[in-house]
Amino acid sequence: MNNRRTRLLVAPLFALLGLVAFAGPASASGESVGACMAHHLDEAVEANHGDLHETLEDHHVQDELEKCFEAPSPILPELNEVIWGGSAFLILFVLMVKKGFPAVKGAMDARAEKIRSDLDAAEQARTDAQSVQADYEARLADSKSEASRLIDEARGAADQVKADLMARHEAELADLRTRAAADIESSRAQAIADLRAEVAGIALGAAERVVQSSLDAEVQGRLIDAYIDEVAGSNG
């Protein structure tokens, strides 16, 4: 991984170094119109032994000077630039083919592999998540069914308790009614008995007072005589 990254950094550095190193000679081949004319004029004056006038009249010199006014071709570069440029291009191309391309390809492959592994991991995570979700949903369904069952059981138990309480209350109510009826009947009988006893007491008290008031000596004597006759009459 580190090796691949080093290759990626080294390849552009080589290209930049080529451009800087071989640019100097290519730009040094071009010179200004005046310098060109001065250079050809010096050579022509020297060839004519210093006779400037003659030199200027020489048609050959004039053609040479005319050439200094001609612009370089916009399409065809200078030969030295072609050489240097081509050499740099070849060097860079070789370097790129040998070093850069494998490095980039490795990085791309690694990236693709990483993306593929990430995708696989994501797929696995999605599968896991789906499994977890399914499990969760299953548990949720189980929980719902369990809750429903518990609710049903609780409702059934509540109904049973309610039925039991109702039955017990009915029984207690019936017992209370029976006891109340018995108490009422007992109270009624007791009241009647009390009333009868009260009436009897009053009647007997009145009768006793009447008897006492009527039991004078004569009546007492008759009662005793009647008793004696009764004893004598009931033999045995």
Partner: protein
């Protein structure tokens, strides 16, 4: 048979009364005094109260009977009270009366009535009881106002109830 102590005292009282020669009077007075003790709880408790000195209790007896009963009767009752047998005196007198009657080959018929019976009624009642039970009896009358009217006769364990009280009780029962 009665308690030996009771019968012993009854024999003693009988012997004294017989020796004094006034058995019928003494017997009748003792019987009346015994009935008074039965009906008067205050008198009975006073004469039986051990905290009261014997002499004081005997003085009460003499104050009660002095001039109303014979000297023999008063002396006998005073003797029993002095012996601390006041509570048993009614039973002793009953035994005495029975013994006295037995000595004459008779039984005792205790007759309770609101009013006293005439001698004629006593004789006729004794005759009627003799006719009914075949026993010769001596009538001992107890005045009992609760009888209201009529007579209740007790001969041993037999009771012949012809009282107004009984009829009122029957009437009360019929109301229930």
């Amino acid at each position: 048979m009665a308690d030996p102590m009771v019968s012993g005292y009854a024999d003693a009282l009988f012997a004294v009364a017989a020796a004094e020669g006034d058995l019928a009077t003494v017997e009748d007075e003792l019987f009346r005094f015994a009935q008074a003790l039965r009906s008067d709880g205050e008198l009975s408790s006073t004469l039986a109260d051990q905290s009261v000195p014997v002499s004081r209790r005997q003085q009460v007896v003499e104050d009660l009977l002095g001039g109303k009963a014979s000297a023999t009767t008063t002396a006998l009752i005073s003797m029993v009270v002095g012996a601390g047998r006041t509570a048993e005196l009614p039973a002793i007198v009953d035994a005495l009366v029975e013994r006295s009657a037995a000595s004459r080959n008779k039984a005792v018929a205790t007759v309770r009535s609101a009013v006293d019976l005439t001698s004629d009624q006593r004789d006729r009642l004794a005759s009627a009881i003799n006719t009914r039970t075949g026993k010769a009896v001596e009538i001992k009358v107890v005045i009992d106002p609760t009888v209201l009217g009529g007579v209740v006769t007790e001969i041993g364990d037999d009771i012949i109830d012809g009282s107004v009280r009984r009829r009122l009780n029957q009437l009360r029962e019929s109301f229930r």
